[in-house]
């Protein structure tokens, strides 16, 4: 790196150099590179499938199911925590919507009930983690069972059909195809934009980074660590409910098992997207791109003619390698100071 050599010819110069683009956006460029390489490999291996628009439409419909909660989960992970309960929140929030709507109340009230449930679940997670300092890994396993249990009891284990006649507007909102583009992906992209602003252009977002980086410093400088962490969990609860509703409307049926299968894909998207496993750094854009990579692995391997049993193998390799690389890069950055004057 050229920054190692400090120029001594113009000591009075006020010119200050920016760190290289690679250094600043290394992890994001890395994930884009991985995505591109995988896509090219799939195109070469199965050109008929990957040069057809249909496969992309399929990705665009299915990926947001775990991408949308992953976007909000990125905030939680940046603060140095984890939320394993969001799949249960997906189901519990959707159950609340169904109960209110099926009881004859207007559906917008159902939506409000659903999102309020998600926020409440998130708040409880956040409060337990930040106020009582319980490790989030442990307590969200507990609340995961708790929320799923409440939902199963509420539903008595049965689902709810979400028919075209009764839920026409909702189906438009969650499964429409404006201009031929699946709305699920439009939502995911819109949320990415919204969350990008929240993370990078608000005080709350700034505090999310500080809390994850060094909670003691953040507290000493007047950042309300408890509130920041709690809001991150609330955010995850809200987005989980959105995904739960969306998934249910796509299938025209609310299954009491809604959310199963989202957990590992979402968490993998966050880490593959370059969010530090140690907290303090991360991007929502990285998470979005990573979700589509993970969504593509499955379909790609099958259509490339490889035995489907390899899916999990490749999936695991991609995640393990990316986290290992990210950790090595982080360590190297710390060991190589770029300021030498």
């Amino acid at each position: 790196m050229s920054a190692e050599a400090v120029p001594t010819t113009k000591p009075k110069s006020n010119a200050i150099g920016a760190p290289s683009i690679l250094r600043r956006h290394g992890s994001q460029l890395g994930i884009l590179g991985v995505g591109l390489a995988m896509w090219l490999a799939f195109v070469v291996m199965a050109p008929t499938v990957f040069l057809d628009i249909d496969i992309y439409k399929a990705f665009a419909e299915s990926t947001p199911f775990f991408a949308i909660p992953a976007l909000a989960l990125t905030f939680v992970v940046i603060t140095g925590e984890i939320d394993l309960s969001f799949p249960s929140v997906m189901a519990l929030g959707t159950a609340a919507f169904c109960q209110v709507s099926e009881a004859g109340f207007p559906q917008w009230l159902g939506l409000m009930a659903g999102f309020a449930t998600g926020a409440a679940c998130g708040w409880l997670n956040g409060a337990l983690v930040s106020r009582l300092s319980i490790p989030s890994l442990v307590i969200t396993i507990g609340t995961s069972f708790l929320y799923r249990g409440i939902e199963l009891v509420m539903q008595n284990g049965t689902g709810v059909p979400l028919t075209e006649e009764k839920y026409a507007t909702m189906l438009q909102i969650f499964t429409g195809q404006p201009f031929g583009v699946p709305i699920q992906t439009l939502w995911a992209v819109a949320f990415t934009g919204f969350l990008w602003v929240l993370l990078n252009r608000t005080r709350f977002g700034a505090h999310v980074f500080l809390v994850g980086d060094n909670p003691t410093s953040a507290r000493l400088m007047g950042v309300n660590v408890v509130s920041v962490k709690t809001w991150c969990f609330v955010l995850t609860g809200l987005f989980a409910v959105f995904s739960g509703l969306m998934t249910s409307f796509v299938g025209n049926y609310f299954w009491p098992t809604t959310g199963d299968g989202a957990l590992l894909s979402s968490i993998a998207s966050v880490f593959l997207g370059g969010t530090s496993v140690f907290g303090g750094t991360g991007t929502v854009l990285g998470t979005l791109v990573a979700s589509y990579i993970i969504g593509a692995i499955n379909a790609g391997i099958v259509s490339a003619g490889v035995n489907a049993f390899y899916t999990q193998l490749v999936f695991g390799l991609v995640i393990v390698v990316s986290v290992v690389l990210q950790t090595i890069i982080e360590r190297r950055l710390q060991r190589r100071p770029i300021i030498t004057n």
Binding site: A3, V6, P7, P11, K12, S13, N14, A15, I16, G17, A18, P19, R24, V197, N200, R201, T202, R203, G205, A206, H207, F209, L210, D213, N214, T216, S217, A218, L220, M221, G222, V223, S276, G280, T281, L333, Q334, P337, I338, I339, T340, N341
Partner: protein, 280 residues
């Protein structure tokens, strides 16, 4: 700029650094402050003043009461009944950390309170990020202000230093510079430096002491706590020597040479008194 980077006893001109006129109101004044923790009396009957634009050194052995005194000033401890705290001449009853901070008492902590993985501009405005009229983070201002502070106040001229650099890439002295500059930027009246040179290399220490000089240049006051008299003496205007919870002596720098001070510190450590063994 050159002024900032050169540091030695001589560059701090004595005529400028002698204690301000006594008729000035101190920024902070402690009168008859004692602090007891259970059976242990950490401070007893302390009188302590810091005038505007003055750097006050706090010397004393381990257990002399330095940190208790400083934690009382920053609002972390409340004095025992009978002790009084005045801020700019006004008695303050509800003394607390938040109260102290709102009055402009900033602490540069030993551990510096930085977020290492974040860029300098985020650290500079930690907890007090400026916003645009839309309520969004004013990133542009945060970056340009950081760049300005770094070149004007921290003396960075190197092409390698940019507000986008993360703090973990900086040396210990430079990190200390960020912490001190940050305290100054937020209109601190009084900056408390809690052993700022601890664990720093020789050049980093020099850099940190330069930053302490900046506090004075900015017209603010500081309390400088350190074990090392060689670090404290050159930058301060007055010195308090604490021993076993009491003020053992107060010196204006012009009244005492460093050698004399060292002698007295040894004496106080052995005998508990600065004065009685004074050579005739």
């Amino acid at each position: 700029m050159g002024q900032l980077l050169q540091f030695d006893g001589a560059s701090m001109d004595d005529s400028k650094t002698t204690a301000p006129a006594a008729d000035k109101t101190p920024v902070i004044e402690l009168r008859n402050v004692s602090k007891t923790f259970g059976e242990v009396r950490s401070l007893s009957g302390i009188d302590f003043k810091v005038y505007p634009g003055e750097i006050v050194g706090l010397l004393g052995d381990n257990g002399a009461g330095k940190s208790t005194l400083v934690k009382t000033v920053m609002g972390y401890h409340r004095p025992d009944a009978g002790g009084e705290i005045f801020f700019k001449g006004k008695p303050i009853r509800d003394w607390s950390v938040n109260r102290a901070r709102s009055l402009g008492i900033e602490t540069v902590y030993q551990e510096r309170a930085l977020a290492e993985k974040q860029p300098i501009w985020r650290n500079m405005f930690m907890g007090r990020e400026p916003r645009t009229k839309w309520g969004l983070l004013d990133v542009k201002r945060m970056k340009s202000e950081s760049a300005r502070l770094m070149t004007e106040h921290m003396g960075f001229t190197s092409a390698a230093v940019h507000p986008d650099n993360t703090v973990m890439t900086m040396s210990g002295g430079e990190k200390q510079g960020v912490a001190i500059t940050r305290a100054l930027y937020f209109d601190a009246e009084l900056v408390i430096l809690d052993e700022p040179t601890m664990g720093l290399s020789l050049t980093e220490t020099k850099k940190t002491l330069d930053f302490v000089g900046n506090i004075k240049k900015a017209g603010k006051s500081a309390i400088f706590i350190d074990h090392n008299i060689f670090h404290v003496y050159p930058v301060v205007d007055r010195l308090y020597v604490l021993d076993r919870g009491k003020v053992a002596g107060v010196y204006t720098k012009s009244q005492i040479t460093m050698e004399d001070l060292i002698d007295r510190l040894y004496r106080v450590a052995r005998t508990g008194s600065l004065e009685e063994a004074k050579p005739a």
